[in-house]
Assembly symmetry: C2
């Protein structure tokens, strides 16, 4: 069907002939046997999913409202694929199929929509996932901000793989898989057109291979993996400490942060521990496996700047850091550059909305 | 965690402590073992899904932008559950797990959010599905319209169940499972506060049991099931005709429409064939199984007003209705109340946006 529209109109949300223009735009870029059936649902077999005896599933959802839609290192389409891929990868799953739901504001240019669809297609190809089903809605001018995207994903977890926030243990070594904050600072600069050296780009990347490399090297000693999106490393370590009933110690000088991000953070008043990333994770690993896992993730393209940044404290160390299992806070502390100790808290406000 | 906010703020989208208020609100209503793990993804086993040897999966996604959010017979929460449940049911699947992604406008009242969460919980309970994973985003004032909801769903299809748009066959009988247009007219009246008798309410309902009853009675003769959402019966029969390479004949006097909907449609200039429903389906059934399927769906609460409304034409009948397999249009025709024949086309404009 030839496309005749230059911008998206309410008629494109009608379910009729105009909606087909949207469907065809996405199908041209993303089409596969599942999507092309054009039924109400995609039909998937256990073989399609790569299941074997004892396989389990990971299922997740994420909505993307990032502004601006296009930024150095990525765009909302690439983000929507990698964000959901990484949520699946955190449980040790191999991501297989994603859904794609778009809410589009009336007047949105078709050229931008095509650029986003192409980006989704490329990111999906690189991450090894297929778009199995989709949906589009159109709302009036001023009722959304350009485009919002939801992706939900299904992955398959191999027998024996057991990762989760509750599994972190005293003594675990914490590995961060690369310099923090590049995504957040990129968005901040792009949104407000800040007059800074623009040699920072988003870290947005799929991390399935990194997690699989860590699993293989960890030999059962990899306990917890979490991607460091909204709330950054601060939110992640506090949530994991809470889920596992532990307390975490970070070592500030060891946390990888580029000079550019550090400088921008200082200037903008951000704490780099709280900055969002879209291609960085924290791994909790049994101490005897930490070096092996560190070497394995450093051997991947996305994890080459990985570093050990801290550990889970033993109960006998709580007093030293003024911590208590009976007090809800703090859940984490950090030894600082100047040799002090400070509490690490999850962010309580919002310095930088619509980061993802 | 005690809630301290009366309206949703950008800080609720930060990923930090305020985000936990949102998480706790939904978890209080929807909590289960999958959601409560608070990992990046939900972990599901084949047993959780009710799989057996030969099972396959249905996977679907739908975003909901309905305005107003609350209307007679339902609200955006109930709609978000039943819309996705019915998309799964159309493939013959038993819906099991749904994801829940919400995009909330800054300033949205927590009381409305709680009401929607409660409605989601009740609809999920009635439909027999669990919310396995969720995500919330907050955008600034004027960047969305209250709340948008995405649900994606996974269902399990029993061995031997084969439904799909491409499976419709010449000779198939068409059954519509109840009076058309009640959802669309309800929204039109509620949105524009039209001075009409308000004895119409949305047909929004889960139809899993109806489809399963039809499958059992159809004994392999049930070929295609589609729910009649955006674009209504007109869009559905045209899409199925296109997918299956057939042509459809509808019989206008047989199409169930209440006097109230018919009157409102005439007044508002709507074609009731194009009106959206959220609890109605069209079934394509082999003619020798049609009576059995009709009786089976009439025995369900949601299908008690089901009716035979047409059939798939044989190629030898095309000339009589001025149809040709070589011409793309029309894909369907209808014998009218006054004895004529008219083409049925998918809607080409948008009379009533944001119906779902």
């Amino acid at each position: 069907m030839a496309r005749v529209s230059k911008t998206v109109t309410l008629a494109h949300g009608s379910g009729g002939t105009k909606t087909r223009e949207l469907v065809e735009l996405f199908r041209a870029k993303l089409g596969n046997v599942y999507l092309n059936a054009l039924d109400d649902s995609a039909l998937l077999t256990p073989d399609d999913l790569g299941m074997e005896e004892g396989s389990r599933f990971a299922f997740t959802t994420d909505s993307f409202t990032v502004a601006p839609l296009f930024f150095p290192g990525g765009d909302i389409g690439k983000l929507a694929i990698n964000g959901t891929v990484n949520d699946l990868a955190c449980l040790g799953a191999i991501p297989r199929f994603l859904s794609l739901g778009v809410i589009i504001e009336e007047g949105f240019p078709f050229t931008d929509l095509e650029r986003i669809a192409a980006s989704i297609a490329e990111a999906a190809r690189i991450a090894g996932v297929q778009i199995a089903c989709g949906d589009s809605k159109v709302v009036g001018h001023g009722q959304a901000d350009g485009i919002f995207i939801n992706t939900s994903g299904i992955g398959v977890i191999a027998p024996g793989v057991e990762l989760g926030a509750a599994r972190a243990q005293p003594g675990d070594t914490l590995i961060v898989t690369g310099p923090l904050g590049e995504h957040a600072i990129t968005i901040a600069i792009a949104r407000d057109k800040l007059p800074m050296q623009a040699d920072i780009k988003s870290d947005c990347a799929p991390l399935t291979q990194l997690v699989q490399a860590a699993l293989a090297a960890g030999e059962g000693g990899l306990h917890t993996v979490r991607d460091l999106t909204r709330g950054g490393l601060a939110a992640a370590v506090c949530e994991i400490a809470e889920s596992s009933g532990t307390r975490v110690l970070l070592n500030e000088p060891a946390v990888p942060v580029s000079a550019a991000v550090r400088g921008a953070s200082d200037l903008l008043g951000f704490d780099f521990l709280e900055l969002a990333n879209e291609g960085r994770m924290v791994l909790f690993v049994a101490p005897d496996k930490a070096e092996g896992v560190l070497n394995a993730v450093r051997a991947t393209a996305e994890g080459c700047e990985s570093a050990i940044v801290g550990r889970v404290l033993g109960a006998d160390e709580y007093t030293k850091y003024d911590l208590s299992p009976d007090r809800a806070r703090p859940l984490a502390v950090m030894t600082t550059e100047v040799g002090g100790v400070r509490a690490v808290e999850p962010p309580s406000g919002e310095l930088l909305p619509r980061i993802c």
